[in-house]
Symmetry: C2
Subunit: 212 residues, 2 copies
DNA sequence: GAGTATAACTTGACAACGTTAAGATCTGCG
DNA sequence: CGCAGATCTTAACGTTGTCAAGTTATACTC
C-alpha cells in the first residue's frame, strides 16, 4: 500500500525483500512474458544473490503463488471498481467487464493466474485453488442476489458456471488473440466486449421455453 | 493412423524418430504433466541421445508445436465423432460435448494446446494460431448454418465468440477443478456438462427482447 | 552498551535443462 | 563400390532451481 516502496532509507539487509521480489517478478512478467520468469533473474533484478529468495519462499513455485495472490487482489479490485456504480443486471455486466479489462491490461499475469498447473491442484496447500475466489465470489454473490425473472432456484444455480465460463473463456481467447473483434465487425475492443456481455445477459434473462 | 508404430522391423537409424518423439512426448505429458516435458527426457524415453531430436526439430518449441498439432487432430475427431449423428441445434450440442470430452480425457494435452505462450502469438510462423482451427471451424460452420430463429445476421455473428468462449471456458475451468459439478447439485460430470450446454443453447435460441 | 542468538543474505556447488559444434554412422544413389 | 547427405552420438557451454555452508546485520538480554 501507499508509496511504491523502493527501499526504506538504506537499512541493509534490504528491509523488505519479500515484497520487492514479488513486485519485480510482476514487473518482469509484464515486460518479458511468462517464459522470462526465472528465480535467478528476479533475484538479479532485485539486486540480491541467487539464493536470497529462499529466505522468504521455500521454492520458486511459492514465489509464483505469491505473485498470483497479489494479482488476485488487483483482479478483484478491477471487478469491484468496474461494477461499483451499477445495479441489478448492470452490476453483473460491470463485473464481467472488470474481469475482461483486467485480463487485457495484464495479459501475462492473468495467464499465469489461470495456468496454475493442472496436476498441482491436488497436492496444493489448499491456498492455490482459491486464487480466483475474490473476484468470482463477487460474481456468484451477484448472480444469486440479482433477481432474474422466471428462474427457479436450481436454474439460478446453473447461471453461475455458465457466466463464469463465459467471461473466463472470453478473457483467455481475447488475450491469446484467438478471438479478434474485427472478425465480428467491431473495430473497438471495448465495444465488442460490451456487446458480447450484453448479449449473454440478455440471453440469460429470457424465460426458458420448457421444451423438455 | 493405423497401428501404434513401435518401430518398423529393426532399421537402425531408428526409422521414424520424428513420429516416435511426438508420440512419447504425448505419452509423457499425459502421464506426468506439462512440467515433466523436457527434451532430454523425451529423447531418453525414445532411446536416443539428447541431441537427436534436433535432426527433426529446430527447437523444443517446435516439438511442442508438433505435439499440439497432433492433439488438434484428436480434438477435431472428438468433436466430429460426438456430433455426427445429430442435427440442427443438437449438432451444436454434440460439438460442444465433444470439445469438453476431449479436454476431460486429455487434460494436460488440452492445457498445453490452450497455453501457447501469450507473447508468442506475434512472432509465430503463422501455424500456431490455427492450432484449434479444425474443431472451431466446425463449430463456426455449424453456428452459421444452423437456423436460429429470430436472429439477424449480425446477431448470428455474435453467437460465434459467445459459444466459443462458453465451451472453451467451461473446458478449462473443469479440468483445473475450479468448477465442480457437485457444487451445483450434479453427481455426474457428464450430466452436468449436458445440462450447462443445454441451458446455453436454450438461452441462445430465445428471441431477443429489444430493450435498446 | 557489550555480547550473543537468530534471521537475512552470500558463496559455491550440483544435477538437469536447452542448445550447439564436431565427429561418427548409416542409407540410398550413381 | 564409393560418395553425399541425412541421421545420430559425444562433448561441451551457459542457464536454471535448489541446497549446504559460511557470513553479516539485527534484535534482545544483561
Amino acid at each position: 500500500m501507499s508509496a511504491n516502496g523502493e527501499q526504506h532509507g538504506s537499512r541493509y539487509h534490504h528491509g523488505n525483500l519479500r515484497e520487492a521480489l514479488i513486485a519485480n517478478a510482476i514487473k518482469l512478467i509484464e515486460a518479458e512474458g511468462v517464459a522470462a520468469l526465472s528465480l535467478r533473474r528476479i533475484a538479479r533484478d532485485t539486486g540480491v544473490s541467487q539464493a536470497a529468495p529462499y529466505s522468504h519462499f521455500p521454492s520458486k513455485k511459492d514465489l509464483i503463488t505469491a505473485v498470483c495472490i497479489e494479482g488476485t487482489k488487483w483482479f478483484g479490485e478491477s471487478m469491484r471498481r468496474s461494477a461499483e456504480d451499477r445495479h441489478g443486471v448492470d452490476y453483473l455486466a460491470g463485473l464481467a467487464i472488470g474481469h475482461i479489462n483486467f485480463a487485457l491490461a495484464h495479459p501475462a499475469l492473468f495467464h499465469l493466474m489461470s495456468t496454475r498447473d493442472v496436476s498441482e491442484a491436488a497436492d496444493a496447500t489448499g491456498k492455490v485453488p482459491e486464487i480466483f475466489d475474490e473476484g468470482y465470489q463477487m460474481m456468484v454473490a451477484a448472480l444469486v442476489r440479482t433477481p432474474l425473472p422466471h428462474f427457479g432456484i436450481e436454474q439460478q444455480q446453473l447461471n453461475i458456471p455458465l457466466a463464469w465460463s463465459q467471461v473466463y473463456g472470453l478473457s483467455n481467447l481475447l488475450i491469446e488473440g484467438r478471438i479478434t473483434p474485427q472478425t465480428y465487425g467491431f473495430s473497438d475492443l471495448e465495444a465488442f466486449v460490451v456487446a458480447v456481455i450484453d448479449r449473454f445477459l440478455q440471453n440469460s434473462l429470457q424465460p426458458l421455453s420448457d421444451s423438455k
